[in-house]
Amino acid sequence: MNWLINDNNKCESIFDIPVLSINDLRQEIIQMKKRVVGFFGKQENDNVHLFVVLADDSEGKLYVSSAIFPPEIKEYESLTQELPSFHMFEREFYEEFNIKPLNHPWLKSVRNHKNKYEFFEMKGDEIHQVAVGPIHAGVIEPGHFRFMCCGEKIYELEIQLGWQSKGVEQLFLTSHSNRLAESVCGDSVVAYNIAYSNLVESLSGCEITNKAQLIRLIALEMERCAIHIGDLGAIAGDIAYLMGASIFGATRTLVINTMLEISGSRFARGLIETGGVNYDIDLALSDKIVSVLDKVSNDVERTVKTMLKSPTVASRLEKTGIVSKETAIEMGFTGMTARASGVNLDTRFDYPDKWYKDIENRSTKADGDVYSRTRLRYKEIKQSIYIIKKFLKELEKYSTEPLRVHCPNKMKPDSFVVSMTEGWRGEVVHIAITDTNGKFSRYKIKDASFNNWYALALAVRNNGISDFPLCNKSFNLSYCGNDL
């Protein structure tokens, strides 16, 4: 067997992962035709060990394999030529280990721009460049955008990130904690913390209670709900539909203030700990959450319907920033971005645990434009509220269970785990490898944004430059999730 078949959150011995030659591995990857979720190196003495994780979303399995680069081998034939979805992964691998993927179409660094970089340039009398960032006009994270425009029309957008880079993966090796996990990407606190906790619990053989699992998932869905409402407000703001911006802003406040009532933090920081959760949801609080969510559901529905009925709104959203289904599959976009283009990827339902197994997930019509992404957010808000209510009811059955169980400090040595959680943007993938002492020897994080930033670059082509903020907000990708 050239692949180890694994499940989400299942701990496997590192020695069970096949080691192939890079040429064989390359052939295998091309033949498998599966989606890439992990492609990263690990320094082992003088060698570089390359790990590949592919996902089969229809059967809910993960395929793991690897190859070793001895010090004298410094190049290989790139996969991106055959499978464009590898382009970011190979760039990252080249940047970190200086092993060159030959014939990679765009071998630019991902995070460390030490040397002077020549941006892609178009020439012509009517062509002009617009440079934005790293510091943006709004209160958001930094990133640099370079537009090649003809008049108002964008021909090409080049996105340069890496400004946020804080060496997070390295910090996980020296001092990992729930606090670090929830600070990697502050808008996906719950998703990141669940991914990290599941991973550590799998490595230390800790089984958390049903109650703790449900409270985590309730928080995860509340996070999704809050951000989607906030983003609907931002989309409304970017098309100057100010009533929408105001109402969605206020409605989001209701959701995150409820999170504060659960956990003491508006973003649920401090709620999740390895071994379980720190705060309970009792019956009184549960009733309160339901009544808040009823109001939220009603307000969102009413505002979305009023907003989308307005012809001026529809004219700004429809057919703006299109990402086709074919492109989404070819480039390996994931999460919300993929779903809005009609590719149904959702870790919650593709790799279901016992809670999501029975929940029906209906796909909606999706055209890949800003309108579809707006509708999708609306659909997911409603779906999240439905799921939260269902889980709250479920939670009543387990009221006597403890919130937290003891999680042994010692993790299994020489092991490998992939932990995927569906954050509001898409899959949050944490992969860990432990050494002979049961300490992390490699920690890899992949946010959905890592795949999806390129979707924004493709979406804005042939759109007016004034629609860029709108396109950007419709995706709302993470800078620090990408830069780490």
Binding site: V139, E141, S165, D187, L260, G264
Partner: protein, 244 residues
Amino acid sequence: MLDTLKLRIYQGKQYIKDIKNATVKEKFRGFPIIESDTIDETICPLGAISNNPAAVDMGKCTFCGCCARNTKAVKFTNFYKLASTSREKLIITEGMNEKDFYKSAIEVNKEIKKIFGHSLKLRQVSAGGCNGCEMELNACSNVNFDMGRFGIDFMASPRHADGLVITGPISENMAFALEDCYKSTPDPKIVILTGACAISGGIFQNSQKLNREFISKHKIDLYIPGCPVHPLTFINALLDYLGI
């Protein structure tokens, strides 16, 4: 059109009328109170706790509540006015209560009050921020908190700004842009550090990829603790600083 008007009327007014006396829910972890002369330092993943004398550094604290859950030595109140004009005052020792802290935490600068008291325009720079503080700063301008009513707003350009609001531990890659932004802001200007990361590096303090030269090089006018900073903490800090 009629639906729009009906919706507008249904939503009514939602702003917090009295920002200065607004209360946050009991569970909110704000000002820490120390009730013992020794605390187990190793409890805190951020190194915010020290002994001799027992102290919690709000400049490092992410208010995760880990210490309060595991010892009886620290207790968090829901008091949210945590800002100070001095870095040292953020270190809370045994027996201090929120009233004593608040009384002397912020010194109003008369000159600043005279110039910026009626209008303060700020430029926000996220220098490695995780988007937590950024989202809360955006929330300051929403219809609930409505910071604009006090003449405080975020500007799109540093050239239109009277001060910088910095979030994040200042990554190496952002150090130059931050310095540039500072230079582009006309004098007189103020510098505000927002959140544990900006004040001390927070959870990223041991990262090799930070460059915190800016903090030692320039005068810092206001420290606003939190992880992320609550909008009420931020707005009240500015109101107190401007003596409004």
